[in-house]
């Protein structure tokens, strides 16, 4: 059994409204890139775990693991789809890690892909809402922005967080996105633009929301011996944790805390024998700006209720004490839901290799990724180091 597991290759497509790209072309492009980056042959891959939220609703295609293996010419190797709403990608990485740790496989691909723009927007948002409790939230007319808006409203009530502080998250992530050639939005925005954008679900406005995106990402994981053999700079997955929370927001003990994040982080920090202050930078799940504020608190980067001021003081910028979402995050890089958790790992690896270009953090030691399903029903946290 392999003691340690490393990422030896990464691949990612551009994120955005990619009319010329299909589910198949996106997956093949990112997979090919990851294999080339790892410097291995596709024959070396033992298995695939693929994250996808809703192929059935977005492209009317299920049975996606077989499809992916067929079109990457990897038949008859084993492949499995992993679904945990927007956390599907992070969970695919967990599954790949477990496959190697169990001793069953040595080299495993963890991928994520979502093709969201082949259907009209109201169908896309309808598909996304199936990550909430259909009987007791969606039935009443609650939407996803609506659920996060209720978290935001309560956060404002309890801690004095302001809409301007939430807007600062979008402004920072768009700045970072402007340095990322794969980002959906590569342009800066201002607090005023966020504040004056269309209201979606008060206090959430259009520019507080991550977009609808197409995209794919793949990472290749390998056991310690193989990783050292084929790779000059393996990036080690030093800690990982996953946890669940109630699918309905109203059943959470504290509306402003994603307990699944707290629990997943506890497991990941424990395995890595690290504390929040040891993390150099992080990719967190900012599906809405309030989600980034909650993540910063629940991952232990600042005290509960202090995230608004923390962001406003610049701590989370690329030059700050704990840079958050250097890739642009879900907000600016884009959020093809099943791909997001894997794309976060791609950014972590680029940062640790020192290859993140204009958004490079100075000499990072440990990078954390945090992926959430729904309003907090699932959370996945991974920690990577050199």
């Amino acid at each position: 059994m392999s003691k340690k597991v490393a990422v030896i290759g990464v691949g990612i497509t551009k994120f955005g409204e990619l009319w010329n790209e299909s589910f198949r072309t996106l997956f093949v492009k990112s997979g090919t890139q990851a294999i080339q980056d790892a410097g291995i042959s596709s024959k070396d891959i033992d298995a695939l775990f693929g994250g996808n939220m809703s192929g059935g609703q977005f492209i009317k295609q299920e049975h996606l693991a077989s499809l992916a293996m067929d079109h990457t010419a990897l038949l008859p190797k084993p492949a499995m789809r992993v679904e945990a709403a927007c956390a599907s990608g992070g969970m695919a990485v967990s599954a790949a890690y477990m496959g190697i740790k169990s001793g069953m496989y040595d080299v495993v691909a963890a991928g994520g892909v979502e093709k969201m723009t082949d259907v009209l927007t109201n169908r896309t948002t309808g598909a996304l809402s199936t990550a909430a409790d259909q009987e007791w939230e969606s039935f009443q007319g609650a939407t996803f922005p609506g659920l996060y808006a209720m978290i935001a409203r309560r956060h404002m009530h309890e801690y004095g967080t302001t809409e301007e502080q939430m807007a600062e998250v979008a402004v920072k992530n768009h700045y970072n996105g402007s340095k990322n050639p794969n980002a959906q939005y590569q342009r800066e925005i201002t607090v005023d633009q966020v504040m004056n954008s269309a209201k979606i679900a008060d206090p959430i406005k259009l520019l507080d929301c991550s977009p609808i995106s197409d995209g794919a990402a793949v990472v290749i994981l390998a056991g310690e011996e193989t990783a050292k053999l084929v790779c000059d700079d393996p990036i080690w997955l030093v800690g990982t944790g996953q946890a669940t929370g109630s699918i309905a927001l109203h059943n959470r003990k504290d509306i402003c805390t994603l307990n699944a994040t707290v629990e997943a982080a506890k497991r990941a920090y424990g395995m890595a024998e690290l504390r929040p202050k040891d993390i150099s930078c992080a990719e967190v799940h900012d599906c809405f700006t309030i989600a980034e504020l909650c993540a910063i608190e629940d991952l232990g980067f600042c005290d509960k209720g202090k995230s608004g001021q923390f962001v406003q003081d610049g701590h989370t910028r690329v030059t700050g004490s704990i840079p958050i979402n250097t890739s642009g995050g879900l907000k600016a890089k884009g959020h093809p839901v099943g791909a997001t958790g894997v794309a976060q790992v791609v950014e972590a690896v680029l940062q640790l290799r020192g290859k993140a270009g204009a958004r490079q953090v100075t000499d990072p030691e440990y990078v954390l990724t945090h992926n959430v399903g729904g309003s907090g029903g699932t959370a996945s946290v991974h920690i990577f180091g050199r």
Binding site: F139, G141, G146, R154, A201
Partner: protein, 130 residues
């Protein structure tokens, strides 16, 4: 839209807020559960919720999902019922600017949505300010 049997199964809950109470630890569930989330026991009795409570958070929905377009803008809140459970429901019969955290509400019976011109109409609970 909710399919008819899927809606019909939950009519006792949707029309009359019927939950259940754990006989071992007195924890009240809405909707009813088969396993108590507090003590893991499986022995329950019916519990009729009184349908009054307090808003703990809310939003005004301005971009509606399919079937709710005609209601925009509408208020949705998480309500802590006096009996214990928390539920998500619309706040109606008021201007949305009147909705606020801490305000008392009570249940009312309303049309929730209709499945196009020919489909079933679904009814259920909403809340109004008291």
């Amino acid at each position: 839209m909710t399919e008819v049997p899927r809606f019909w199964r939950e009519i006792p809950q949707r029309y009359n807020l019927i939950g259940n109470k754990c006989r071992k630890c007195d924890w009240i569930n809405f909707p009813p559960r088969s396993i108590c989330k507090k003590c893991n026991d499986h022995d329950f009795e019916r519990f009729d919720l009184k349908g009054e409570g307090k808003i703990i958070t809310y939003t005004i929905i301005r971009a509606a999902p399919l079937g709710f377009e005609d209601l925009v803008p509408y208020a949705i809140a998480i309500i802590r019922l006096d009996d214990g459970p928390r539920i998500t429901a619309q706040i109606v019969d008021c201007d949305s600017s009147e909705v606020d955290i801490g305000k008392r509400v009570k249940v009312c019976f309303r049309k929730i949505a209709e499945d196009g011109k020919a489909g079933a109409i679904s009814y259920g609970y909403k809340f109004k300010l008291v």
